[in-house]
């Protein structure tokens, strides 16, 4: 047996209100996007402000009632709050985001010292590769690209579902459902060669086929989000 430390990417839900029903609603919405994938998914609750007076036992219950597993609580917490959380057997987590920001500044300075000609491209220690599915996605099938883009080399049939936390590229016709930015990335887009979907969704904002502009039906299109509205653009008109 060995003991080592590993990094994990977790779903984080921000809490900025004492009203726990808002949290319940938010989690439910997320779960409904892909019930299979989010069942018992680990989640971290991030408290936005230490002035919030929260009942942590209730919070834990709300999270588990929605079918998620509470891994821990992070954010702006006062000492008494941390103690209170610990007595509930919930972990207090420290986000690494601030440390990451500092590290980024440092590497930038280092790079400036190196003459440009000698600079080597930065080697990424780890990155998540795009998930590629070759072949048709048939009715009843669900493809999920966790924390990455999804490429489908084939048609997505009616009754099929393709989901990605990043962008979705379909080299074929989209006749089923496509949900990009499933974890809430509003900059995610869907690209397809023939748009006749049952539903398209970006970061939880969705449109059904009847609500989509008819001039794009069957055309190669990009589906993206602008000002929280689904926007369609023609794929072939982009230079």
């Amino acid at each position: 047996m060995t003991l080592k430390s590993l990094n994990f990417t977790l779903l984080v839900v921000n809490v900025d209100s004492e009203e726990l029903s808002i949290l319940a609603e938010e989690l439910n919405k997320k779960r409904m996007m892909a019930p299979d994938f989010f069942s018992n998914a680990p989640v971290v609750v991030n408290i936005e402000s230490e002035t919030l007076n929260l009942d942590f036992t209730q919070l834990k219950n709300v999270v588990s009632e929605q079918g998620f597993l509470l891994v821990g609580i992070s954010g702006e917490l006062s000492e008494p709050q941390k103690e209170l959380i610990n007595t509930q057997n919930i972990a207090v987590l420290r986000s690494s985001r601030r440390h990451a920001a500092k590290a980024a500044v440092k590497t930038e300075q280092e790079q400036q010292q190196v003459p440009a000609a000698e600079a080597e491209p930065p080697v990424l220690s780890s990155y998540i590769k795009t998930k590629i599915h070759t072949g048709r996605v048939r009715s009843g099938q669900q493809i999920y690209a966790k924390e990455c883009d999804l490429v489908i080399n084939g048609d997505v049939g009616a009754g099929a579902e393709v989901i990605a936390d990043g962008n979705i590229h379909i080299y074929g016709a989209l006749r089923g459902k496509a949900l990009a930015g499933a974890m809430g990335d509003q900059s995610a887009s869907i690209f397809c060669q023939a748009l006749s979907p049952e539903l398209v969704s970006i970061a939880g904002v969705y449109k059904l086929s009847d609500d989509l502009a008819h001039e794009f039906a069957g055309k190669s299109s990009i589906v993206s989000l602008q000002d929280e509205q689904i926007v369609l653009t023609n794929l072939s008109q982009i230079n």
């Binding site: 048709r136 996605v137 048939r138 009715s139 009843g140 099938q141 084939g154 048609d155 049939g157 009616a158 009754g159 099929a160 006749r175």
Partner: protein, 270 residues
């Protein structure tokens, strides 16, 4: 090498049993020892279509449960000496079908020298249908030219590529063939029916055959005579073409275009 071929569709009433009977009979007529297994437990039909309902004593479930042996349950066809039927149980429910049981029956049939084992699947995507397709080497997906049938065929094709023995063991995938039944070129011409191209667009499965809509099919079912034995009618000929293609013989598509009858031929019945 024995081949297990499932005839399936997802949707009911599209011609699975009619096609199983026709294909099984056609293969047996070519001299290959063939058995057709009825997987529609509780709603058995194959024996009627094959005209052997009065000779059913034991069935598939009896064999799986060890209440009868294979030879007792197999019904020999009266017309072809190479054709056998394994009837379904009419009294049990579909949960009586176990993976181990079906595996043993198929194994024993192969050991018995059967070259083609045709599994006539029930409609739906539940236990009976799953068991019928699980051990398949090839599949004949039966589709009517209409949207709900096409979508169900899409679903079942997805299951063939994810829920079968071949997919679970990561062997070469089940070879899927598309059989379009009840095709009516005249209605396709009037755009009242999906065309072969439309269906190919939606499903992307290699076409095995197109059976034209025909009154003769219903008559054949009522008589308990597989339609392929009637080589006078278009549907029988189209099934024969499909069987030939299944055995690797190339055949041109027939009965897929609508030809308007000329004025004279209408008068003189040409």
């Amino acid at each position: 090498m024995a081949k297990v071929i499932v005839v399936t569709s997802g949707k009911g009433g599209v011609g699975k049993t009619t096609s199983s009977a026709a294909i099984g009979t056609g293969l047996a007529m070519s001299g290959a020892k063939t058995v057709i297994i009825d997987f529609d437990i509780g709603l058995r039909n194959l024996d009627l279509i094959m005209g052997c309902e009065r000779r059913v004593v034991y069935d598939l479930i009896n064999v799986i449960n060890g209440e009868a042996n294979l030879q007792q349950a197999l019904v020999k066809d009266k017309r072809s000496s190479d054709l056998y039927i394994m009837p379904a149980s009419q009294t049990r429910n579909k949960d009586a079908l176990t993976k181990e049981g079906v595996e043993k029956v198929i194994h024993d049939l192969k050991a018995d020298g059967f070259e083609y084992i045709i599994c006539d699947s029930p409609a739906g995507i539940e236990q009976g249908a799953m068991m019928a397709l699980y051990f398949a080497d090839e599949a004949v997906v039966t589709t009517n030219p209409e949207v709900s049938s096409v979508r169900d065929s899409d679903r079942i094709t997805g299951m063939l590529s994810s829920k079968s023995y071949r997919s679970e063991q990561q062997l070469t995938p089940v070879k899927v063939h598309l059989l379009i039944t009840r095709y009516c070129p005249e209605r396709v011409e009037k755009e009242e029916m999906l065309s072969i191209d439309d269906i190919d667009d939606l499903l992307g499965i290699d076409l095995l055959g197109v059976i034209p809509e025909s009154q003769d099919v219903l008559n054949a079912s009522n008589l308990g005579e597989p339609i392929i034995l009637n080589q006078e009618c278009d549907a029988g000929k189209a099934y024969q073409d499909a069987v030939d293609r299944l055995m690797g013989i190339e055949r041109d598509l027939r009965f897929v275009t609508y030809e308007k009858k000329s004025f004279l031929s209408r008068i003189f019945g040409g």
